[in-house]
């Protein structure tokens, strides 16, 4: 699977390591777009660790407001051409101090963004969407057709 991570609001050269199932796939500066690949089918944990955040990176004014910080935001996760869209919120941000922020795409405190996905991604997306919205009872049947058609096209 091809995974594209799109970031924004990148401040003060943050660095990260992107893991799949604890295996590092990218290590370096946070840039607008990071591409990684993963080949094993089944469940997978995608995590993005914020690796170079130090206390002195955060500058506050006399009233305690942050005026400068090393930080970034995760905008989009696109896997095999499918934008996870709202499903990117099916994640948590586990700060190094132990605090867990659910549905957090902002990399402020040192810590790690974690989301549990599956390869292939499409059935996970359809199943997860239906679990929340309860509006797509036929997703499995239609996915079977789509999946079979994709495989058949390679074959004929």
């Amino acid at each position: 699977m091809n995974i594209t991570l799109e970031f924004s609001a990148i401040q003060k050269l943050p660095e990260c390591i992107v893991y799949i199932n604890k295996q590092p796939k990218y290590q370096g500066p946070v840039i607008d777009v990071i591409h990684i690949e993963h080949f094993d089918e089944g469940t997978m944990e995608l995590s993005i660790a914020f690796t170079n955040k130090k206390p002195e990176d955060t500058v506050v004014n006399s009233t305690g407001d942050i005026v400068e910080d090393k930080s970034f935001e995760l905008d989009r996760i696109v896997i095999d051409k499918y934008d996870l869209e709202e499903l990117k919120w099916e994640s948590k941000y586990q700060a190094s101090n132990g605090v867990v922020y659910n549905k957090c795409l902002f990399f402020g405190p040192p810590g790690e963004f974690i989301i549990h996905l599956e390869n292939p991604i499409l059935p996970w997306m359809l199943r997860t969407r239906h679990r929340y919205k309860d509006d797509d009872p036929n997703w499995q049947e239609d996915y079977n057709y789509y999946d079979k058609a994709c495989k058949l096209l390679e074959q004929i």
Binding site: L126, D142, N144, I156
Partner: protein, 339 residues
């Protein structure tokens, strides 16, 4: 046979699988593929034949460089009778914006009558009558035709694309019921002998929208009795019609005979119907499916027209255009399935 076994094991439906195959072949992701597969085998529209499209494009270009005269408009209307090859000499011909203008004119002229049609007739009638509080009802055993009705009927029949035999015209003559015959599917057939001598026949409507990919140009011809003078006939007599559309129309009927599309696609229709277990329609666009094809019932069209009827009232009229458009893919699919 491997594919056949897989299809049976997974309880997949061949028609739906083929629709998905076309969608995937077009490069569609899941949501688009799903939408395509839901609608592709439904409705009725002309085959997007590239040669005909080229003829239309050339006609438009030529029209832009042609001094505007009424000749093309009159030629189109006057020559249409010979093109369809039906005995329409006893009728006056005028231009019609598709069949639809003819329908509207018929509704208006017979507005004090009760409109009648058979179940399966074109949904436009139902929608128009309902939306305008026009008195109407389906014809059935409990509600037969009666004096004071006006009948709208398609030939071939809209629900299946098939020709039909019935004594309805005799009955309409006896009961003094004016009849509009919608013949928009006729150029999709190999033709037939059709007796248009019945006095009850008030209007015969033709359109090129189903046979050629020109639906948005609204090209048609209406035939009415000599004593009928309405707004549509007035428009024709004062040359107040769509010249470009008539120009395209004359170019099309000059180049292609009325059975052109049927002759090209008839063998493909036969092949596709055999493979998908459909009954071949007299109109080359369609096959008619049994209850296995209920997923391609009229439910989507009923929703589009905002009509509240049980889809099971209607035949599963399957539009074969995606098969014709992707004939090579269909043959590969069929071979894989049968191998």
């Amino acid at each position: 046979m491997v594919l056949q076994v897989i299809v049976q094991m997974l309880k997949l439906f061949k028609g739906k699988l083929f629709s998905y195959l076309v969608a995937v072949n077009k490069g569609m992701l899941f949501d688009d593929a799903r939408y395509y597969a839901k609608y592709a085998l439904q409705g009725s529209r002309a085959i997007p034949d590239s040669d005909i499209h080229h003829t239309v494009t050339e006609a438009i270009s030529e029209y832009a460089n042609t001094p505007v005269t009424f000749d093309h408009l009159n030629n189109f209307v006057n020559n249409f009778k010979d093109w369809v090859g039906l005995p329409l000499d006893k009728f006056d011909a005028d231009y019609s914006a598709g069949c639809t203008q003819s329908f509207d004119s018929f509704y208006l002229r017979h507005r004090h009558k009760k409109f009648r049609c058979y179940v399966g007739e074109y949904f436009y009638h139902l929608k128009t009558w309902q939306s305008n509080n026009i008195d109407w009802s389906f014809i059935n055993n409990k509600n037969p035709l009666t004096n004071g009705d006006a009948l709208v009927i398609s030939y071939p029949f809209c629900d299946t694309g098939d020709f039909w035999n019935s004594l309805v015209f005799e009955e309409c003559c006896q009961k003094n019921i004016p009849v509009l015959i919608d013949m928009c599917y006729y150029p999709l057939t190999q033709g037939c002998n059709f007796n248009l001598d019945y006095e009850c026949i008030d209007t015969v409507a033709f359109s090129l929208s189903k046979v050629f990919p020109v639906a948005n140009y609204r090209i048609g011809v209406r035939y009415t009795r000599n004593n009928i003078n309405d707004g549509q006939k007035l428009h024709h007599s004062i040359n107040y019609n769509n010249m470009l559309s008539a120009f395209i129309g004359i170019k099309l009927i000059e180049k292609y005979n009325v059975t052109h599309i049927h002759n090209i696609y008839n063998y493909k229709q036969k092949d596709a119907c055999e493979f998908f277990n459909l009954t071949q329609s007299d109109s080359v666009l369609f096959g008619v499916g049994d209850k296995d094809w209920n997923i391609y019932s009229r439910s989507n069209l009923l929703n589009a027209y905002q009509l509240d009827y049980n889809p099971n009232m209607f035949c599963n009229r399957i539009c074969l255009i995606p098969v014709y458009e992707h004939w090579d893919l269909f043959e590969r699919f069929k071979n894989e399935y049968n191998t």
